[in-house]
Structures are given as structure tokens and as C-alpha cells.
Subunit: 103 residues, 2 copies
């Protein structure tokens, strides 16, 4: 049994979700974890581009990754979805806004 982590940075999450590719990536990782090259083929985007997007998602804590070694000995970076449940309300936004750097 897993539970969503409560410590997401709202600005990072907003930045992460503000992109159609990254929404599709999260959708794709729901069914199962996947490694970068395969995920790039599935989503039909280039691997460097996918890596850039995955980095943003990982920084926001929405996905995580680790190195695994395949049956035939190749190192593969596998990404998995981090469960999350974030509520967006005016109060939550205000709370996040208060934490922003002054200028």
C-alpha cells in the first residue's frame, strides 16, 4: 500500500505539468514503469527531449528513476510514477505564494 507524499513544491509541480508531453509521460507511466529508450519510442519523441522532460518531472517529485540491468546486460534507466494527490485551491496557492522569494 502506497500513499502520496505530502511535500510537493507547488511551483515545481505547476512547471512540470504545464506541458502536454509531460502529461502524456505521466499517463504512460501509470500502467507500468518503463526505461527511457522504450518510453521515447512509445511516445514518439526523441530521447534527449524525453530526458529533458523526465528531469523536470523528477525535480517536481512526480516520477523517480533508477538504473537497472537488463537480462542481456545493458544498463537501463527505469522511470516510475510517484503517486501524488495535490489539491489546488486559492488558499493552497496563497500558501505557496507566501513562500516565494521576495523579488
Amino acid at each position: 500500500m502506497s500513499s502520496p507524499k505530502p511535500t510537493h513544491s507547488l511551483p515545481l509541480v505547476m512547471a512540470a505539468l504545464d506541458n502536454p508531453h509531460r502529461m502524456r509521460i505521466l499517463a504512460a507511466l501509470r500502467s507500468s514503469s518503463n526505461y527511457v529508450s522504450q518510453l521515447a519510442r512509445d511516445l514518439e519523441i526523441s530521447r534527449p527531449l524525453l530526458i529533458m522532460h523526465l528531469k523536470k518531472l523528477e525535480e517536481a517529485g512526480l516520477v523517480s528513476s533508477g538504473l537497472e540491468v537488463s537480462a542481456d546486460g545493458k544498463a537501463m534507466r527505469v522511470y516510475q510514477l510517484e503517486d501524488f494527490d495535490i489539491r489546488l485551491t486559492p488558499d493552497e496557492v496563497a500558501r505557496a505564494a507566501a513562500k516565494l522569494p521576495k523579488d
Copy 2:
């Protein structure tokens, strides 16, 4: 008694909230509605810039506006917060991703 509208476009909301100014604008409008020039002074940003940000917030349905006439006869555009309560989960993101244009 007011209730959050259920029909927010997730992409538009994400785009709207992905900016520190716009988070502060929402925070500021919580306590009370305000007209553009005053809000610009309160937040210490230029009026054209504020207008640009308000436009994005309005497109996302997070604020609304109307023209009011002040006591001394000046037309003022008053913005008010639209209440919202949006839940961000992998399933919700996937649901939004499925509605995105194919390419």
C-alpha cells in the same frame, strides 16, 4: 453560498499557475476584489504586465472581471477571484492528457 466550478481545463490552469506573479495575484484577490491600477500598485508590477497575467488567469477561469463605475465617475475593471478546488492525481492528469490534440 458559492461552489467551485467543476469544468476547469487542466492545461489552462497549469499554464496559469506556472508563474510567481500569477500566484501572488490570486493570493491578493482572496481578501477582496480589486481594480487593475490599484492591484498593480499593490503588487508593484506594471499595469500592462499585470493585464497580461490577469488575462491568462481569466482564460483559465480562475478569476473574472467586469467594468464598474467609481463614485467619481471613472470606469474601472474590477477582478475577482473565482473559487476553485482542483485535484491533481495521475488519473486526472491522464484524463486531461487524453483530451489533448493528437499532434
